[in-house]
């Protein structure tokens, strides 16, 4: 019933803390734009540290979202290798990959992507259908998670009855529902105003610290970049720099959010 318990992650006990959560080598990925093949990633090599608040930063079209998709196992590279917590998604069949995503990865999207026909608590609960089979337990955990992200009392509201920030909080609770090792967020503050964006960043930062899970964002929000433990800079489909974060923000007011 207590909130900290609700967002406890289940870090892989077999992996030492200094082992990267994700290892990427020689990653290439192109997209077809009409009949033109557009390279999105051109030989990316990067290690993403475990248990950190990592941001993949770069301008639009730099390939950060593509890298995030490959790390989230929702896309397959043309060549190169991705390893998530020691598992190579390329070796998994489609259903195994889905199973892997359900248990190990949580997603937060720029447009929140909540199911409009479900209430807040049902959105969170629905994500747990694949992992937890007891409906009562699912409902209980979903309520706890919503309380943890500051939506206590709003459990039964539909997404269209919530503000952008509140929707993103539901999305964060949903991403945490199955206690993933890795939470990926694609420009999570891009559709929010500055104040709300800062609150969301602070919330995620706090949750990351409480859970010890690895959070990876794609963003060009300076506030989010400053809040990160690790910043991986991407330009023209290549990693051009990896630096430790400049600050270690705690409460939300310490984060300066600059909306996209």
């Amino acid at each position: 019933m207590n909130a900290p318990h609700a967002i406890t992650a289940s870090p892989n006990p077999l992996r030492p803390a200094d082992t990267p959560i994700a290892r990427v080598r020689g990653l290439h990925k192109s997209y077809l734009l009409g009949e033109v093949k557009v390279p999105a990633l051109r030989g990316v090599d990067v290690d993403i540290p475990r248990g950190c608040f990592t941001v993949i930063a770069g301008p639009s079209g730099s390939g950060k979202s593509t890298l995030l998709h490959l790390l989230g196992c929702i896309d397959r590279p043309d060549s190169g290798r991705v390893e998530i917590d020691g598992v190579s998604p390329q070796t998994l069949a489609d259903d195994q990959l889905s199973e892997f995503r359900a248990r190990r990865i949580g997603f937060v999207f720029q447009s929140f992507n909540l199911l409009p026909v479900l209430s807040a608590v049902e959105n969170v609960e629905y994500a747990m259908r694949l992992v937890a089979h007891d409906p009562a337990q699912r409902r209980q955990r979903a309520r706890e998670l919503l309380g943890e992200v500051g939506l206590g009392g709003m459990e039964d509201r539909r997404p269209n009855q919530l503000s952008g920030g509140q929707r993103q909080r539901v999305a964060i609770a949903r991403a945490l529902a199955n206690r993933p090792d890795l939470v990926l967020a694609d420009e999570p503050t891009a559709n929010l105003d500055g104040h709300t964006g800062a609150e969301i960043i602070a919330l995620m930062r706090r949750i990351q610290r409480q859970t010890g899970a690895s959070f990876i964002f794609s963003s060009h929000d300076a506030g989010l970049i400053r809040a990160a433990d690790v910043c991986i800079r991407v330009a023209d489909g290549q990693v051009v720099g990896q630096t430790a974060g400049q600050t270690t923000p705690r409460p939300s007011q310490e984060v300066q959010h600059e909306p996209a």
């Binding site: 989230g72 489609d94 889905s98 995503r101 248990r103 992507n113 026909v117 479900l118 049902e122 609960e125």
Partner: protein, 471 residues
């Protein structure tokens, strides 16, 4: 919140589209139930009518149906009273048996001396009282009134003829018939003398041996015709039959030759004054479902009956093949309607689910990124199709049943089916056919599932990243 609940909520997202789809399915299901119930009712009426005419089974000499008309004597069952007694007294048959009665088919030339007209006829001799019982059968529980038996037990020399035959024999005036056409005068006068002469001569011979002579009975006032046939010995025989009234037949060719008479009169025509014989023994059972059991038992009895090895038992579908033709015609019409409604369901649901997939591409990407497998996505959309299909079918079946049973059945509409002279009520018998109701729901729901399969597969095959970009 379960998957069904989610499917229901997704259907409510676009209420107008869902309502339109539901409406199309409802109309489809209603059409199937009402037409199916109508066909069932029609077949019941037809079966009742046929069984009243021909009984359920007929015992006859082998080959009678194909050749008996041409040689009634050769195919006659001479000792039919003994066989009827054996059937009627059989303890196994008794509970099933309603009527066992002989009939005798006879054909020849009918003449009206007074008008100088003649024509061929095909008649049947009946035991009048037993025919009353035959025509009162209502084993299907339709509540139809018994058909009138125009033959009269106290008029052994009197029968009925078709309206067409009455016209051919120029009996319109004599029988005081309305809607009866008179033959062209010239044609009648040209042909009349030769036939008149021959028939008069034969009738005169016949009257010498006949039990009853038309010219000497008090029933002289009743119009009469002469029926000419051939006796078993091949000699021509004539009887005078008073015509009680006409009975219009649904088929023109039959109406032109139809005659029904007491069996004694027919026997005199075929076998002479003292002869006895029947073309067949008509067996009518309490219920149509008893046919197989009764048939098996009668065949067993025939095996022990003298000459029984040369007899066979045919059911009413063999005796009146048009029964199966009409049933098949109605069945084909029903299948056609059902096929059309199935196509309506197919396209309505495929369209609704397809549009739903198109509107929820981003949602599909989200679900897949959350770890839901392709089959989960497929199942989600199929469930939506199945839900709307089942709902539409159930509502349509309920409405169709209500409309049929409490609307159409109470309206008192009648129509005359092909080949019939009497109108029958337009009815919908849906409640007595649970297979029709359950089958309609099951098949439409199945079609709904199948039709949502294609869009559901399209949704399941989407690439996650492309689907997410669609947001």
């Amino acid at each position: 919140m379960n998957l069904l609940d989610l499917a229901w909520r997704n259907l409510l997202r676009n209420r107008r589209r869902s309502l339109l789809t539901l409406g199309a399915l409802c109309i489809g299901a209603m059409a199937v139930v009402i037409f199916g119930g109508y066909v069932a009712a029609m077949i019941n009426v037809l079966q009742t009518d046929t069984v009243r005419d021909s009984g359920h089974l007929q015992i006859m000499r082998k080959g009678f149906l194909d050749f008996g008309r041409g040689n009634p004597e050769r195919f006659a069952i001479r000792d039919y009273p003994a066989l009827i007694t054996r059937i009627a007294d059989d303890p196994e048959l008794k509970p099933m048996l309603r009527v066992a009665t002989p009939i005798l088919r006879v054909q020849g030339v009918a003449g009206n001396f007074a008008a100088g007209a003649s024509s061929t006829y095909a008649g049947t001799g009946w035991q009048v009282a037993e025919r009353d019982r035959l025509l009162g059968w209502d084993g299907n529980g339709l509540g139809l009134p018994p058909r009138a038996n125009r033959l009269q037990a106290d008029q052994p020399e009197a029968g009925v003829i078709g309206l067409g035959l009455a016209q051919l024999l120029s009996m319109c005036q004599a029988l005081e018939l309305r809607d009866c056409a008179m033959p062209p005068a010239a044609a009648t006068q040209d042909d009349a003398p030769a036939i008149d002469a021959s028939l008069s001569q034969l009738a005169a011979q016949s009257s010498a041996t006949s039990v009853t002579n038309a010219t000497t009975t008090p029933a002289d006032a009743t119009p009469a015709i002469e029926l000419l046939s051939a006796t078993s010995g091949g000699a021509p025989s004539v009887v005078r039959m008073q015509v009680l009234r006409t009975e219009r037949q649904g088929v023109r060719d039959l109406d032109m030759v139809y005659a029904a008479m007491p069996i004694a009169l027919a026997e005199r025509l075929v076998f002479g004054p003292e002869g006895k014989g029947a073309s067949a023994i008509v067996v009518q059972l309490e219920h149509t479902e008893q046919i197989a059991a009764a048939r098996a038992r009668i065949e067993k009895l025939l095996a022990d009956f003298p000459g029984g090895a040369n007899m066979e038992v045919r059911d009413f579908k063999d005796v009146q093949p048009q029964y199966n033709q009409v049933v098949n015609m109605f069945s084909a019409l029903f299948q056609f309607i059902a096929l059309l409604m199935g196509a309506v369901t197919l396209f309505s649901v495929a369209n609704a689910v397809g549009m739903s997939v198109g509107e929820r591409v981003g949602e599909i990407g989200t679900l897949r990124s959350m770890g839901f497998k392709r089959r989960h996505v497929r199942r989600m959309f199929i469930l939506e199709g199945a839900l709307i299909g089942t709902l539409g079918a159930v509502v349509g079946v309920l409405l169709g049943t209500l409309l049929g049973e409490y609307g159409i059945n109470q309206a008192g509409i009648t129509w005359t089916p092909p080949g019939r002279a009497m109108p029958v009520p337009v009815g919908v018998d849906a409640l007595n056919h649970p297979a029709l109701l359950i089958g309609t729901v099951a098949i439409l729901a199945l079609i709904a599932c199948l039709s949502s399969l294609w869009p559901a597969n399209r949704a399941a095959k989407m690439e996650i990243v492309e689907a997410l970009r669609h947001v």
